[in-house]
Symmetry: C2
């Protein structure tokens, strides 16, 4: 069923070389979990949610706006279409997805050692997406530029626990709206060799993404076994909740699906405004919307890779402001991850959310309260893992460094408990015995280098040492680290002919249209 | 088997009155979970750890130091005693515990509405313990005083998500070592009506704790059904890891156990120094030490309540400094909680650990990485939930406020998913329909007051509002909150005759001994 059925773990030696060049321990291109999923509902509870989603699809329906082709596709498939309202018979969407969509798939990177496997027991940590502002503690908050964008591509490239280059990391507002996608895509291709995300703000921009990927991948674009394009781009298709898809998103989804590129179909929900104020209500609505979107992709091109997305925040019912890192969205995440596994598709949710404007304790606790559920619940594609501040309005330099460190901790957590003889360590306990210490024993000598996760930015020193070091807090240490990483950055090699072809494509495309801010 | 078999949920109206007096919503005295446990090992994995613990007890043994009575107790019970080394036949400790110790028990508060049920599906959040220093962002770090101690008792009393007054919250170093326990115990009794912990630094101080509790509880000290003292004090008995108990802890344990007061037997382990550098090795050693300690308590007084404790940190193998909030101790916690459930005793671990010296992002993320496993893993008695800074060396005022807020979030998380008709909210989805918003719908109107956890210190406002409010970070908002709470504090009522009797006891005891700093 999968278009990329083989698990690719090759290219390990290349990855190791790349890591050594950065002075880092070798890191896997993504994580395969060795700990169980955390699940909050039993089968009966999950069945209630699934039944309610089917009721929403059958009785209430989903609007597909300003896209007559989409309505015709649904009509042809046997759905009940009244105006722009589409009602699907119970089970129709589920069957379309389960009969056609891959359970997991590989997104190919230009460096094969960086390709990621999306779905199953795998976790891919991805930078934040879509922020108009950037923030650092030196300059404060300001609009993002293409220089900021490049900086974050470089930081993601240099972060062993961030497996992906992401997409619209920050909006480069110094470039025209109708052309900036070209510069963003090029930055991902030029300054990183990790996988990246495509433009979704217009079908033409989606097509540009595909054309540039075709240039970048060259002979590797087509899979000789299937004759179809390899999946080299993954794309964020948000529902306009409640229960609506608009023509922009549908247009991009059609372009990508027809080219066998991956679509993440994500109901984007501030619960209380775009869904009911309850976990179970938000879950049923999210499932209904995601089912409709993923089924639509399968109608456009059966077998095209899709990811079940869920973005759900709570809100302050006093002010209407979205709130993050609260318990209710964590419960939604656990439920949705479980529903995605039952459906049999990869799952995207979570990340490191916060409403804080600065990389302070609020930012850290809200992010941890999102990233740990992301990890334990079984998110496959963890968009927004690094950088997110201010409810997604700002991409933070220090926050990126802090979040990447946390993602490193999650990598270690996902490895689980080593129950080998060495892991059981009974020889060490026998050697040391009551009242002695383990620091010098043979087992400790053999294992100390890899024994515990050690953060590059947390301060574990004595108060006196910390005082002598200038009493820096976490944000200040993260500030020093991102500057050092950028100063030491070395780009991955890119074939000059491919680089020239990409630049020529961009030049030709930019020349073909006037600057515009829509 | 339990000496306090009845679940006490009475006194609700008193709790509601107390809460209203504080201007807070009524809160339960402790939390009963409605979400599953997170478990990282299966039965086979857990059996390996249990088998290794039995091997440690049988082959290596545990030292009981400078306490001939303890050795005689073990000898009489059939253990192999050589010098101070005690070796227990496989299964002996487990059987002593399972045949005698209560699976769960009630710790009684002087206000019955504040009594807590320890064990089973219940979680009790408790302040940090044992810090020589205190910290706030105005005055920085300094030695603790009895005034600081009283302040933290008051803050815990005023925090609806902190269920317990704790014990040695901070060391009042302005008082002589041999007398300060009297002032600490009195502070818990006078300034709070929540449960508290007793002194363990000398058997005489344990006895003082019991005498004062007897005065405080008066006619309620003896349970008329059993003729035995009610369990009114809980106490922290640490193992001197690896595989050693010393006479101070054994002396306090004997005093408390004989009076039917609860002992938390906790191997205190910096893994790599006091145990092997691996999760499975640390788990087996912790289990062995805890089994020995809990079995000893059952030999002293069969049926006395015990709690299985586990404290495990990782360390920097470069500097030897303990590290907190890392993934390995979280894995140890999940394993130990599971082992405690299999044994059938209440479990203590976790809290809100950090190595940070200040209430910054490091403090918040490390604490969240401890408190969420504490919650998901199923800790019953969560010592160190609020205030801990600097590896436990400092008790932080702002940190306390931040942690109490996080504990509030955990309370909501533990409630799980509401699958009632109202929770499913299908009427809301039908009423609103595609493309509309839920803010004004009937279901939202009915539920908005309790819909989402809302932090009193997180800032969810717009950047502009936050800017207008003075650009405060989390620590600054927490600073304002603890000052306001202390300024508004009103003590719970205490019978003047009891108060006078307590003060008379303290006066008499202080007069009986010279000041000493040991």
């Amino acid at each position: 069923m999968s278009t990329n059925p083989t698990r690719r773990r090759s290219g390990g030696s290349e990855a190791r070389r790349a890591s050594r060049a950065e002075g880092q321990a070798p890191q896997p291109p993504y994580i395969t979990r060795n700990i169980p999923y955390y699940e909050v509902l039993d089968d009966d509870g999950l069945s209630i949610i699934e039944n309610n989603a089917d009721t929403i699809l059958e009785e209430i329906g989903i609007d597909f706006r300003d896209d007559p082709e989409a309505l015709q596709i649904w009509r042809d498939a046997g759905a009940d279409v009244q105006g722009e309202r589409v009602r699907m018979p119970r089970g129709m969407c589920r069957k379309l997805i389960q009969d056609n969509a891959p359970r997991e798939f590989t997104q190919h990177a230009r460096n094969p050692a960086r390709s990621v496997r999306i779905g199953g027991a795998n976790t891919v940590f991805v930078p934040a997406y879509g922020c108009p502002f950037v923030h650092d503690i030196d300059r404060g908050r300001r609009y993002g530029t293409i220089e900021d964008f490049r900086n974050f591509v470089k930081l993601a490239y240099l972060s062993p626990s961030i497996h992906h280059s992401g997409g619209t990391i920050c909006e480069p507002v110094d470039l025209p709206v109708n052309k900036r996608h070209l510069d963003m895509i090029y930055s991902h291709m030029k300054y990183s060799d990790k996988c990246f995300m495509g433009s979704v703000t217009h079908p033409e921009r989606a097509q540009d993404t595909i054309e540039m990927a075709r240039i970048l991948f060259g002979d590797n674009w087509i899979d000789p076994d299937t004759g179809k394009p390899r999946t080299c781009v993954i794309n964020l298709i948000n529902a306009n909740s409640p229960m609506t898809f608009d023509d922009t998103m549908l247009g991009a989804a059609k372009v990508y699906a027809r080219a066998n590129q991956a679509c993440i179909v994500t109901p984007f929900i501030l619960a209380g405004a775009m869904s009911p104020v309850t976990v179970a209500g938000t879950a049923a609505q999210t499932l209904a919307e995601a089912l409709a979107g993923m089924a639509f992709v399968q109608l456009v091109n059966p077998g095209a890779p899709v990811v079940f997305g869920s973005f759900a925040s709570s809100m302050s019912m006093q002010s209407g402001a979205p709130t993050f890192g609260t318990p209710e969205p964590a419960l939604v995440l656990y439920v949705m991850a479980n529903l995605a596994r039952r459906l049999g598709v990869p799952f995207r949710s979570g990340g490191s959310f916060t409403a804080s404007k600065v990389p302070d304790a609020q930012a850290a606790s809200e992010s941890a309260n999102t990233l740990l559920p992301t990890t334990l619940g079984g998110v496959n594609f963890a968009l927004h893992t690094a950088g997110w501040l201010e409810g997604g309005l700002a991409m933070g330099y220090e926050k990126f460094i802090m979040d990447a460190d946390q993602a490193g901790m999650m990598q270690t957590l996902l490895k689980g408990v080593d129950l080998s003889e060495n892991g059981q360590a009974m020889d060490a306990i026998r050697e040391v015995g009551p009242g002695k210490h383990f620091l010098g024993c043979n087992h400790t000598q053999l294992n100390f280098k890899t024994a515990f996760y050690l953060s590059p930015i947390c301060d574990n020193n004595s108060f006196e040492q910390w005082d002598a070091d200038g009493r820096l807090d976490m944000a200040q240490r993260a500030n020093a680290r991102w500057k050092k990483l950028l100063a030491d950055y070395q780009p991955p090699e890119l074939d000059p002919a491919i680089d020239a072809a990409l630049l020529a494509y961009i030049e030709q495309r930019k020349a073909s249209m006037p600057d515009s801010n829509v």
